[in-house]
């Protein structure tokens, strides 16, 4: 990525602002698309959250929620699918990524603005398609977000395996297409559109995480694509990739022959595990940026963090089997996957330790964004330590598919990603709207969301220790009785979390009109996006795009008059931004 280059005007700037439709609806402006993604994710988040609340009512007071046993797996499946793919992926990766990346690399827009627009308009129809599956005969897909065959392949196995599963596959196909287009744009933009002087090692950590996460996602999604195509053929064309011979459903021998269900699991988790990092890493990157800005010091160990990210990504692609310790694969593979999985603790702990160490000798500013970032440290630490248990094949004999797993992954892809998203939205909101979000409301939202969430998902770990299995409609097993009294408690906590999101929505939709006016750089932050007026205009910079003369986090440098130095501020002679 060497070689001189300029402000990259035309590169991405071949589209004009245009009228209402091209400006706000079929927009090619990365900021508008980012907001479109976030709004979509919010709508889907409300559905996903409502599903969670509904599920919790059933779990706390069985039978009172009006859910039947055959609907329950549908609700669980849809909650998982919506939250992972249509809320976290859309808000954090597609949404905030779109907003942050071009601004932070100093580009006018994404490398392929039209592709970017197409990406949003591909995923948008997937949302109603996914939701429509609740209303088709048999109800929504019910084989879990993992869609394991033969349950997902045979219509008679569960009612949701009919129409619902087909719609699920269709909506997922659209999602994958959209996510791929988005990822291609992210990578091309970060690799090729960086401002003059913005070397890779001057890239803000948020951009680094988006880069690593995009590459990881792009390389792992094809496995799911292949699996989905074959599953679709198994369902509708009479092939048997995943359905073995002699399956008897409700007394009837199925026609399928010779397939291997484990194959699907391998393909699925080849995506599924990296997908976790695809979601979690950007949240960590945002936390690094936010913590740097509000602790007025550079993050601890920038280079260590960057290399750790890369190592996490590489290792993340070869450990999928730790989701399958008890699946019946070769026990020797179990050993391999266990040992390699636990190797990830090394780079991952490095990132976590660097997050904590970034607070050393800090001078904190208590914005809501900072609160979320600090909360994220706690969540990622706790969730990460939970991963040490689950990566251990022997401990997994007890934990597999228990509430320990449920608690753990809600820490990682529930709390960490959500905290990162909220931090990012509070932090970059002024850049998009020119106004600040309300801090008081933001703080209240933080406390009412983070603490109940922590309690909720932490207590699930203990239920898991007791042997409570996930995806159960009701618990009548004797051995779990001592932890069942927790169920109503957890449900109340879940309701507090769900209800407190109203505070966020009020803040989000009111602040663009009522919020305090923000200057171009309300946080006195250093990265390139703070060199343009707020809200950033179409094309991001009203005149020339900035160049990067220094690193991304020049805070509190000794002897400087102000406690920060913009990346675009020309440095002392000799530090010319000659390289990209």
């Amino acid at each position: 990525m060497e070689g001189p280059s300029g402000g990259l005007v035309r590169m991405s700037g071949t589209h004009a602002a245009g009228g209402f439709w091209t400006r706000y609806v079929f927009s090619r402006d990365h900021k508008v698309i980012g907001i479109q993604y976030i709004l979509t994710a919010m709508a889907m988040g409300l559905v996903g959250g409502a599903l969670a609340a509904w599920i919790r009512v059933q779990l706390a007071w069985p039978g009172s929620a009006g859910i039947s046993p055959e609907q329950y797996p549908s609700l669980v499946t849809m909650h998982g699918t919506l939250m992972i793919f249509f809320v976290v992926s859309l808000a954090l990766v597609s949404g905030l990524g779109n907003i942050i990346i071009p601004l932070q690399v100093g580009a006018r827009d994404m490398a392929y603005p039209f592709l970017n627009m197409l990406s949003f308009w591909t995923v948008l129809p997937a949302c109603p398609l996914m939701l429509a599956s609740f209303f088709v005969p048999g109800g929504a897909a019910a084989a879990g977000w993992t869609a394991y065959p033969p349950l997902s392949a045979l219509k008679g196995a569960i009612p949701g395996s009919g129409w619902g599963q087909s719609l699920w596959l269709l909506a997922m196909a659209l999602f994958i297409a959209s996510f791929t287009m988005g990822g291609l744009n992210f990578v091309a933009t970060i690799f090729n559109l960086r401002a003059r002087g913005l070397t890779m090692m001057r890239l803000p950590l948020a951009c680094w995480t988006y880069l690593v996460s995009s590459i990881l996602g792009l390389l792992s999604f094809p496995a799911l694509t292949a699996a989905a195509i074959m599953l679709l053929l198994d369902r509708h064309a009479g092939t048997s990739f995943f359905v073995p011979s002699g399956v008897v459903i409700a007394g009837q021998v199925q026609a399928h022959q010779g397939g291997t269900p484990l194959l699907f699991q391998h393909l699925f988790w080849f995506l599924g595990h990296p997908e976790v990092y695809v979601l979690v890493l950007p949240a960590l990157g945002i936390a690094f940026d936010v913590i740097a800005a509000f602790s007025r010091r550079p993050p601890h160990g920038y280079r260590i963090t960057v290399w750790s990210l890369i190592v996490v990504a590489v290792l993340g692609m070869v450990v999928w089997g730790h989701h399958m310790f008890t699946s019946g694969m070769n026990p020797y593979l179990g050993k391999y996957f266990s040992v390699v999985t636990l190797l990830i603790t090394l780079p991952f702990a490095a990132i976590g330790v660097n997050l904590v160490a970034s607070l050393w000798r800090a001078r904190l500013r208590w914005t809501p964004a900072m609160l979320w970032a600090l909360g994220l440290i706690s969540a990622v630490g706790t969730g990460g330590l939970g991963g040490v248990y689950l990566g251990n094949a022997t401990a997994d004999l007890h934990f597999h598919d228990s509430y320990f797993v449920v608690g753990h992954f809600h820490f990682m892809i529930g709390m960490v990603t959500l905290f990162g998203t909220f931090a990012g939205i509070f932090y970059w909101f002024p850049k998009l709207t020119g106004r600040l979000m309300n801090e008081r409301l933001g703080r209240l939202h933080f406390w009412l969301t983070s603490l109940p969430m922590f309690a909720l998902f932490f207590l699930m770990h203990l239920q898991g220790l007791r042997g409570m299995m996930r995806r159960y409609y009701e618990f009548s097993q004797d051995y779990v009785a001592p932890v069942l009294w927790l169920q109503p408690v957890l449900t109340v906590l879940a309701f507090v979390v769900f209800a407190s999101q109203a505070l966020f929505l009020i803040n989000f939709f009111r602040s663009p009109f009522r919020g305090e006016s923000a200057g171009p750089n309300p946080w006195n932050a250093t990265t390139l996006e703070w060199t343009t007026p707020s809200p950033a205009p179409h094309g991001n910079w009203p005149d020339e795009t900035p160049s990067a003369w220094r690193g991304p986090y020049e805070y509190s440098r000794n002897g400087n008059e102000s406690d920060f130095e913009l990346q675009s501020a020309p440095a002392a002679p000799g530090v010319l931004p000659s390289k990209r």
């Binding site: 039947s68 046993p69 055959e70 005969p137 409700a250 007394g251």
Partner: protein, 249 residues
């Protein structure tokens, strides 16, 4: 204003009249309405040969079912009387009623799940007639019908006292119904488009009454022994007797 009232009254009365006419004509030849006495076909179903025995199924994996069946469950498949009368045989008119339509009765057929067994084990139902499925057990049952022609249904009844209504749209011999939660629980529904069917009881007898005069093919169906059929001609007021003898296949 008056004119509107008059007009709407007329419309309402007119509609009511049309509806009444339609419903009375729709009742058609259904049994009981016509003054004719009709024909009767009755008879007996027996089994010949070494009778297989129902297995006692131990259900110790299920707390509830084993508590109400400590000795295990008998599946009511081979209920054979002392004189070899065969119970649970579905006898119905297979051919001979083509072109006639019959209205389904208003009252529903009740399928009860009690003590982890379906009652009745075999039953007949008319197309369009309501099937009321009740769970009298304090445990989860699911009702999974796997028809070839009709729509498949599969739902759970987690609580005691829950009821659901289903109907069948097409005649089908037979629709197997299973409980996936309790593998031994199964029953069969014979769906026909006329009211001339009966399931033999412990005495192995059946009686199809008020048939219009004509020639009929009568079929008897048993879940393990297959089907037997006989053709019979009856006139008005006549009674004919038939005997079906099943052998082990």
């Amino acid at each position: 204003m008056d004119r509107i009232w008059t007009f709407s009254t007329l419309v309402i009365f007119g509609a009511a009249a049309v509806l009444a006419a339609a419903s009375s004509s729709g009742r058609g030849e259904s049994a009981g309405t016509s003054p004719m006495i009709g024909a009767t076909i009755k008879g007996k179903v027996v089994f010949q040969g070494k009778a297989p025995k129902d297995r006692k199924i131990s259900v110790e994996g299920d707390k509830y079912c084993s508590s109400c069946n400590p000795e295990g469950i008998s599946t009511e498949r081979y209920v054979i009387g002392p004189n070899r009368e065969l119970c649970h045989v579905f006898v119905y008119v297979k051919k001979g009623l083509e072109g006639r339509t019959f209205d389904p009765p208003k009252e529903a057929v009740l399928l009860d799940q009690k003590h982890c067994v379906y009652t009745p084990h075999v039953f007949g139902i008319m197309t369009g007639q309501e099937l009321r499925i009740r769970n009298s057990d304090d445990t989860l049952h699911n009702i999974h019908a796997t028809p070839k022609l009709n729509a498949e249904f599969n739902f759970g009844q987690p609580k005691k006292g829950t009821e659901e209504i289903r109907t069948f749209s097409f005649p089908e011999i037979m629709v197997p119904i299973k409980c996936d939660v309790h593998g031994w629980m199964s029953c069969y529904a014979g769906v026909v488009s006329h009211p001339f069917f009966q399931v033999t009881n412990a005495s192995g007898t059946f009686e199809l009454t008020e048939l219009p005069a004509g020639e009929y093919e009568i079929e008897a169906w048993h879940e393990k022994f297959g089907t037997l059929s006989q053709t019979v001609k009856v006139g008005d007021g006549q009674t004919r007797e038939l005997e079906f003898t099943f052998k082990k296949k």
